[in-house]
């Protein structure tokens, strides 16, 4: 995949906001002194009158976003996942979630692939935190095309949305000419009958690569991209459970409370089959280059192949 185009989904976020600003006059952007990193700086440059820096004060930023939404604006509150979902959790819950306000949260630098900044900035818990809030939609796009489509879908949806973007350049998997994003609907990237690999975000590309390797070895793995973790596409997951009998989930997030837990919850209720979770185990990350960390924490096509084979006793 060396010649595949790569782009960080945070870039896609900044660009999508800018591209959609004219069509959506109520769109405004908030940031907490990280505009250069979250890429809302692109929007700031194009629409300085609709960009508001809140300084290093994420709690207030979320509250301001709530107030803007209550008065008819569509605010995109942007910062790192650690601070959006972590530090400001209670404000997101009580000032945005409880009144069900039309706030969009753009959380960048999620997961272990933050890299060198280390454990304090590697948020592996945000999806778990956000999906516990009633009425909160949680989206984890896998690439540039999906990220841009997600921003548009969030704008067209009335209610709070948490969007998770990455720092690391990710392979562009989807073709913008044919790609369709439907909120709450998973995408079957590859059909298969032996097992299903359910992936989200940065791990979708790894899951697809793993399926290629497995195919060469005679294992027919289905690959599902779940970009909307909440509401989960239960129908698609149940169908996969029924038809393939085993599921492996892959996410750049703690195995506690994220995609794997959501899928396991669904499968347990509708069609109990084994669900094996690949993700960050119950531990903190540490500093290092993102690509090395992903390998170390088992977030790679190679590790997925190993886990799938073990699950199938092969």
């Amino acid at each position: 995949m060396a010649d595949v185009k790569k782009k960080a989904t945070r870039e896609s976020y900044g660009e999508a906001l800018t591209e959609l600003a004219e069509q959506y006059p109520e769109l405004v952007v908030l940031d907490a002194d990280l505009a250069a990193a979250t890429k809302t700086g692109i929007f700031k440059k194009a629409y300085p009158d609709r960009f508001f820096d809140c300084g290093i004060a994420e709690e207030n930023m979320m509250g301001v976003a709530a107030g803007l939404a209550a008065a008819g604006k569509i605010p995109f509150a942007s910062t790192f996942a650690m601070f959006a979902a972590g530090r400001a959790y209670e404000i997101v819950r009580n000032s945005i979630g409880y009144p069900h306000l039309n706030v969009k949260i753009g959380a960048t630098h999620a997961g272990i692939s933050v890299g060198e900044d280390g454990a304090t900035h590697q948020c592996n818990e945000d999806v778990a935190l956000m999906r516990t809030i009633p009425g909160m939609t949680v989206i984890v796009p896998s690439d540039d095309v999906e990220a841009k489509a997600a921003v548009k879908a969030a704008l067209d949806f009335n209610g709070p949305v948490y969007m998770r973007f990455g720092r690391l350049a990710a392979p562009v998997l989807n073709d913008p000419a044919t790609y369709k994003f439907e909120l709450g609907k998973g995408i079957t990237m590859r059909d298969g009958k032996d097992i299903t690999i359910v992936a989200t975000g940065l791990m979708v590309g790894e899951a697809a690569a793993a399926a290629e390797t497995l195919a060469a070895e005679g294992i027919d793995a289905r690959v599902i991209n779940i970009h909307t973790i909440k509401p989960l596409d239960k129908e698609l997951i149940a169908k996969a459970a029924q038809e393939t009998g085993k599921i492996v989930t892959v996410e750049e997030h703690s195995i506690i409370g994220g995609l794997g837990s959501a899928v396991a919850d669904c499968v347990t209720e509708c069609c109990p089959v084994p669900v094996i979770k690949i993700g960050v185990n119950d531990e903190f990350g540490h500093s290092g280059p993102a690509v090395d960390l992903l390998k170390e924490f088992g977030l790679s096509a190679e590790h997925i192949v190993e886990v799938v084979k073990k699950a199938l006793n092969k």
Binding site: V28, R50, F52, C54, G55, A57, E59, N60, M61, M62, G63, V64, A65, A66, G67, L68, A69, A70, A71, G72, K73, P75, E90, I91, N94, S95, Y98, P99, L101
Partner: protein
């Protein structure tokens, strides 16, 4: 202030205080102390200041009020009922299962502009509303009421910084300075004093009202607030927790306790007497 109008406001304030007792008595819980300390403030706002329409609670250009000290919802509900946003009967089912009136304000209740109750958050939402008003060049003003204990929350000062930075002169924050919080005197618990100097240092125009139960003084403060340009305004009002019910006044134990039947009767009798005196 015109004496007839003042007398009418004083009577309304007594009715709102009765609503506070009625709500908390029937709920068997709630926060009467800090509700009674803002009864006059809410009376002034809802009956002499705010551009609101009970028949059209979501009117786009209405003035907004965010009760950042959301635990004093009984006073807000009593004021909204008195103003006609919903039936006064609702006060009797405050905090009950299936009731409209929640323990803390919920945005879905007619007349409530923002859910609140987790302290320190309402002022941020008020900043967002004020900013939206600026962006739309809308005529409305945004008011938010904070407790003096509440301002111990760090988020309040993040919001204070934000409001001054963006010159939100359509925002007025009222700090209900009754001097008491759950664990005791604010100066003993973890003092937020001097409150006026803090807001001034954060770039706000500060007005101190030395008697939050005097309508002339309340009116003067709000009139002054409207003349301030490019700065948010903080009104620090010195109030009496439990004001209007003798045995609740300045008693921290009435922060979060409901009156029993006997206390309710005594309190209501005192308020009935106050009303009778005003009606002379």
């Amino acid at each position: 202030m015109d004496e007839t109008i003042k007398k009418q406001l004083q009577k309304t304030a007594v009715n709102i205080r009765m609503g506070v007792l009625t709500g908390t008595f029937h709920a068997k819980s709630g926060h009467p102390g800090g509700s009674l300390s803002i009864a006059d403030l809410l009376t002034y706002l809802y009956f002499a200041k705010l551009n609101v329409d009970p028949k059209n609670p979501d009117m786009p250009d209405r003035d907004r009020l965010v009760l950042s000290k959301g635990h004093t919802a009984p006073a807000l509900y009593a004021a909204l009922a008195e103003r006609g946003f919903f039936d006064k009967k609702e006060l009797e089912s405050l905090r009950h299962i299936g009731a409209m009136l929640q323990g803390h304000p919920c945005i879905h209740t007619p007349g409530v502009d923002m859910s609140s109750g987790s302290l320190g958050q309402g002022i941020s939402a008020a900043c967002g509303m004020a900013l939206a008003g600026k962006l739309d060049a809308a005529p409305y003003r945004v008011y938010t009421i904070l407790g003096d204990g509440e301002i111990e929350e760090g988020q309040v000062w993040e919001a204070a910084m934000f409001a001054a930075h963006y010159g939100l002169d359509n925002l007025t924050a009222i700090v209900d300075n009754n001097g008491l919080q759950i664990d005791g005197k604010i100066t003993d618990v973890c003092s937020p004093e001097p409150i006026d100097e803090k807001f001034r240092a954060f770039g706000w125009h500060v007005i101190v009202v030395d008697d939050a139960h005097d309508f002339d003084k309340i009116e003067a403060a709000f009139n002054e607030a409207e003349t301030i340009v490019d700065k948010p305004v903080a009104i620090i009002q010195k109030s009496v927790k439990g004001k209007g019910v003798s045995f609740m006044e300045n008693q921290v134990s009435w922060h979060g306790a409901a009156p029993n039947a006997e206390q309710y009767e005594q309190g209501m009798n005192e308020l009935r007497a106050a009303l009778a005196e005003l009606e002379g």
